[in-house]
Symmetry: C2
Subunit: 151 residues, 2 copies
Amino acid sequence: MFSPQALQARLTDFRCRCAAAGLAATHQRFVIYRILLESKDHPSPEAVVARVREQIPSISHATVYKNIHTFVEMGLIREVNLLHQTSRLDANLDRHHHLVCEQCRKVVDFYDESLDRAQAAEPAPHGFAIRRYQVEAHGLCSECQSAGGES
Amino acid sequence: MFSPQALQARLTDFRCRCAAAGLAATHQRFVIYRILLESKDHPSPEAVVARVREQIPSISHATVYKNIHTFVEMGLIREVNLLHQTSRLDANLDRHHHLVCEQCRKVVDFYDESLDRAQAAEPAPHGFAIRRYQVEAHGLCSECQSAGGES
DNA sequence: ATAAATGCAAAGGATTTGCCGTCAA
DNA sequence: TTGACGGCAAATCCTTTGCATTTAT
């Protein structure tokens, strides 16, 4: 994911950001973050648990899950899939896109011709065959804005 | 989601497509599909179970879940979130997009300036505040193409 | 008649919770 | 010292599975 130098830089930043946020720089927390930085494959929390256990065999699921949440809140990492708690179904097959609320996970249809035209200039890497583009616009729905979406 | 006429048309189509696919036109199957057509909110399977139970109180989870899978395979409905089995994490905060394999759910980073420029021409509906755009390109990775991705 | 579909209940996997002991600051 | 953190185990939620019964064709 990162060059060795960039990796070092981020790990140093990490200590600062923990200090700034008033978070203890525990060994577990540090290893979990390093594993995430080194992972090129968008791992699941379970995969992170497995990788961390190679270095800290006794680490618990709870610790890994809690730290992942902390990192997301700090903005240190992101979830690729905002909507992963459950499947979400759509019987509307017309060309359209989705607004996804980062707070409450509401999904709203979004018809927009500019977005319909989104198309890559580069060929897809690794021989990946693209079938369709789907734009997700992430943000806050009006309810969550008024509720104070300072997440 | 659809006008009354469009709804009727789709329900008629539905019977034809079931017949064509050799699927029995059961009452349960029909009601599940109608609920999906009428739902404007991208419901979860659990939400579909709840709505169907207003009409068929005795319907089982298994029936709803199995039919949803059948409908997705037939292409009658789509999943908004291809990646919903588990969270997927990304420590790479650089601007980039994702290729998602419809078959094996692998996620590959995709850097492309054209996609970076994706932006709506229309204002977002319902006062939704867009924070960032994220393009997902859905298709088949090279491994799944060779394996015969005739899903 | 017969293959497919439903319903039930139990199992499975991911994630969260509460509580207690431990550690970083 | 002390509040935050880690570990454990149980609980929860979503989804799948196996099997016996019913139903559509």
